[in-house]
């Protein structure tokens, strides 16, 4: 489990990197006018706040992943409450399933992220393939 504090400039930097131009992601006034406390994280910012919690699970020797041979096979996110700058997002990560097929290892991890009020903000499912 790990907690990520969402910074205003980090939200802007992420939005810029993916080409998201929606004013609520950049401009505090626009975000407030739309009813948010601060700039709104683009949905895919979920990979930023959940990654810190996921890393130790992926790298756990019990999981048995050779990180240098890891390929991202698939990804699923379901979003709930919006995430805005200033939020503290706590993510719990787990190994859901581990299978082997044709010499490849398939690892499915899950993440569940809640905000400082305990409200669910995002659930993630990460499929990683080890070559």
């Amino acid at each position: 489990m790990s907690t990520y504090v969402v910074g205003r400039e980090k939200v802007r930097e992420y939005a810029h990197a993916i080409g998201e131009t929606a004013p609520v992601c950049h401009d505090v006034e626009a975000a407030r006018a739309a009813g948010f406390a601060d700039v709104v994280a683009p949905p895919m910012f979920a990979c930023v706040y959940s990654w810190a919690a996921l890393t130790p699970v992926v790298l756990d020797p019990e999981t048995g992943v050779d990180f240098s041979r890891l390929v991202h096979g698939g990804q699923e996110f379901t979003w709930h409450e919006p995430v805005v700058a200033g939020d503290e997002i706590t993510t719990t990560a787990a190994l859901k399933e581990k299978t082997e097929k044709a010499g490849l290892g398939y690892f499915t991890f899950t993440t569940r992220s809640v905000n400082q009020r305990g409200e669910l903000v995002c659930e993630g499912e990460w499929l990683n393939i080890v070559r």
Binding site: I18, E20, V24, M44, V48, W51, G74
Partner: protein, 116 residues
């Protein structure tokens, strides 16, 4: 039901550096052509999650319209070549999506669900 549509996104030469900084994923396969070639890749490759973020972003002008998105990653994307994202809206806010670069499917079996 909305029409099928296609959106073209062109990753510029430096997009992987910006995405590395923004996301914290500094894997050299995304940043260094020589390193990427040393592990059998054609050149530095795009972050899969950046490509997924393009599929997410083009769904709507409202970033919070997206309820869920699932994708499978296939081909490896590279900077400076157009990516075509195809969106096929179905029932109940479900949109089937795909991202293709140079005939190479980067994202397949994408399924977005929008709040309607």
């Amino acid at each position: 039901m909305a029409e099928h549509r296609e959106v073209t996104v062109t990753p510029d030469r430096f997009v992987t550096y910006r995405y590395a900084g923004a996301s914290g994923d500094f894997n050299p396969i995304h940043l260094d052509d020589e390193f990427a070639q040393s592990v059998g890749l054609p050149s530095k490759i795009l972050h899969g999650l950046w490509t997924m973020a393009q599929v997410a972003r083009v769904q709507s002008d409202d970033p919070l319209a997206l309820k869920s998105l699932s994708v499978q990653f296939r081909g490896l994307g590279v900077p400076e070549k157009d990516i075509t994202i195809a969106l096929k809206p179905g029932e109940d806010g479900v949109v089937a999506c795909e991202a293709v670069q140079d005939g190479n499917k980067l994202v397949r079996r994408g399924k977005a669900v929008l709040r309607i």
